[in-house]
Symmetry: C2
Subunit: 196 residues, 2 copies
């Protein structure tokens, strides 16, 4: 046997990333073998190496893709002018975006330690760029007196942790819609940074 009928890199490539994302999210990077990924795609393990130089690069590619998609989606948004509306927009965007791709969210903060130092640094830079956008909103709000937070850096990390946490419990079949979840969280975010 050799090349199989119907084989195309345009199909196999995305399929590998799809299967890998699913398996990495469900069982963890270290617990998933190249043979398991290949089996999910319907191919032999050796074929994967036409698409990635090694296993870790496959993980890194998925993470980078996720972070760049996050930043692009955020950049494509039209943001309001006053800090309060900006914060609401950020809150709702973050929740909706993260709930749409739970697997990518999961691996992007669970599998960081499986990255080489260089790759880790690249992902952290992207993450930092995203978090800085939230901190800038908080800083502007504090500057004009509409927010009251003792430490914008820590508030940023606290809010991000709270918002990202929805991924751990939200289920589409549950009792709440994404919009309802957004509203509940926005209520808490708004009050948490409000002037006393």
């Amino acid at each position: 046997m050799a090349r199989t009928t119907g084989s195309h890199s345009d199909i196999t490539g995305p399929r590998i990333r799809e299967v890998a994302l699913d398996l990495f999210a469900r069982r963890g990077f270290a617990a998933v073998s190249m043979r398991q990924i290949a089996s999910g795609v319907g191919v032999q393990a050796g074929a994967l190496y036409n698409y990635t130089p090694d296993k870790q690069s496959l993980l890194f590619g998925l993470m980078r893709e996720h972070m760049e998609e996050l930043l692009a989606a955020r950049a494509a948004r039209e943001v309001p002018d006053d800090p309060l509306a900006e914060l609401e927009d950020f809150t709702r965007f973050h929740i909706a975006h993260h709930l749409e791709r739970p697997d990518a969210v999961f691996i992007s903060y669970m599998e960081l330690r499986n990255l080489s130092p260089e790759n880790f640094g690249l992902i952290e830079t992207l993450r930092r760029a995203y978090e800085d956008q939230l901190e800038e909103i908080l800083k502007r709000g504090v500057a004009v007196g509409v927010f009251d937070v003792p430490d914008t850096k820590i508030a940023t990390l606290a809010l991000i942790a709270m918002l990202t946490g929805v991924s751990t419990w939200y289920r589409p079949a549950g009792r709440l819609s994404v919009q309802q979840v957004e509203t509940i969280y926005w209520d808490m975010v708004r009050k948490a940074v409000a002037t006393a």
Copy 2:
């Protein structure tokens, strides 16, 4: 060779758990081998099986120990009577307790998927018991009109996620003491659930 001079289960047993906790936290359960743990202890891999029936039980033991310690530390506390003071106590307790054992915190919510279904269920029950304590505080506060949260279940998960998040960034050598961090977070928690 055989039994080594100075060998004692009272020393080796805790040492194994200590090394395993450290390695699991730093590299992840699946990426750590029994031989690496043994090497850290200064023993051959076979010796570990005098202390655990298998690798997964070692992980489970660490997690159960962590959750039971958390519940015991909480139960040993004298809690105030009014919901606001109770919430402050919970907030400060949670942060301080978690910052004192970052490795155990880390593995206890990162390595859940490496547990068998039964063991997973046991840990989840303990975790649920802890989270329920926070939810009860919120419910009481809502009942007496001192808190305003649209959904106590979600508020509980949101607050826990926010508070537990400190472990991801806090470093003892950093610019803030634990008490300062407690206070900053308590400020946000208090406002987030306050009546509007």
